[in-house]
Symmetry: C2
Subunit: 171 residues, 2 copies
DNA sequence: ACGTTTGAGTTATAACATAACATCGCTTTC
DNA sequence: GAAAGCGATGTTATGTTATAACTCAAACGT
């Protein structure tokens, strides 16, 4: 799976919103949901959630691990994989299988399938809330007498900001 | 990514067709296509294609490697990854990213996107020729001004033969 | 307080994939 | 037919992603 993604490039659409607000909202939403479900959003778990929210680019487990280490957290692989497993179970994060990477879920209260547009240049992943697609995929499976459990839809290409190579990517 | 897949289980639908014929047809089709495209289907490449066609279950690179070794082929990882790269480029195989595994393409002449139903119990992967879905995903991307290049659609659950746990899986 | 459950620490290793460089054989060109 | 060029393969080493298995500690219900 080749990728041109430059780790220093921020997705273009990221310049136009207050991302700190974005993260704060996601974290408070997560706290509320965990309380409702009697799930414990412990410090490591919360920190991992914050980290995968800090960019619109999916983060690899070992990238997360590095940042945990910088924060003084324990940093052996199981730590991060366990935290991620928890976040996935709670619907607070998604795994992007084609990148072996993880990202915060934009609407943890409603969807449990993530549909993504992934830019191979800047590495951004945009989650799309597509209830109609979900329904349609269920129907496709049903037509084959297949009991559908999980859907993976990952669409790759170039995001709007990366389609015109002559203009410098905005930071 | 948890899976119950038992490596000794064959998919139920596999009992009802002559799979050798299946493989033979796939191989001759591949030879023809390679000739048309001036691509060299060398012995290793052909053997790898044959191997990934021998079951309806996607095979991991190291599984393929083991079988190549049994045949007396060279068996270091680059050998198999290079052969797979070739087959993917020629549209003769697909990568199932959620399984880190590979499978022969059922209709290499027409489609280059593979849509899969993957059984988590028996490990089978059925490719679906869904032109309508392809069109629809293109439209979804276009609506977001996204330049779509590759589509990954992997639907997991239980295949028809694995939905009734009381009846023994057919061999 | 006590046992049970859940989370986290630790060590080791499994599983998947590629980098980098050497070699071999074919064909193209002179 | 020698030499250059090229595509395929061999070889060694290493990078990257993920989990097994066991231990310890903190939280929770009773």
């Amino acid at each position: 799976m080749p990728t041109d993604s430059d780790p220093n490039l921020l997705p273009a659409f990221c310049t136009n919103h207050d991302h700190h607000l974005c993260i704060d909202q996601a974290l408070s939403k997560a706290k509320r949901l965990c309380q409702q479900h009697n799930a414990r959003l412990t410090p490591v778990r919360e920190r991992v959630l914050e980290l995968i929210w800090q960019s619109h680019k999916p983060l690899g487990a070992y990238q997360i691990l590095d940042r945990l280490a910088q924060d003084g957290f324990n940093s052996a692989p199981p730590t991060v994989y366990r935290a991620l497993e928890f976040l996935l179970e709670q619907g607070l994060a998604h795994r992007i299988t084609s990148l072996n990477a993880f990202i915060g879920c934009s609407h943890p209260e409603r969807c449990h399938q993530g549909y993504f547009l992934i830019c191979r240049k800047c590495g951004s992943a945009q989650e799309l809330p597509l209830d109609a697609l979900s329904t349609q995929l269920k129907q496709i499976a049903m037509a084959e007498n297949f009991h559908l459990e999980t859907q993976i839809v990952e669409l790759s290409g170039l995001c709007p900001g990366c389609q015109h190579p002559h203009q410098e990517p905005t930071l």
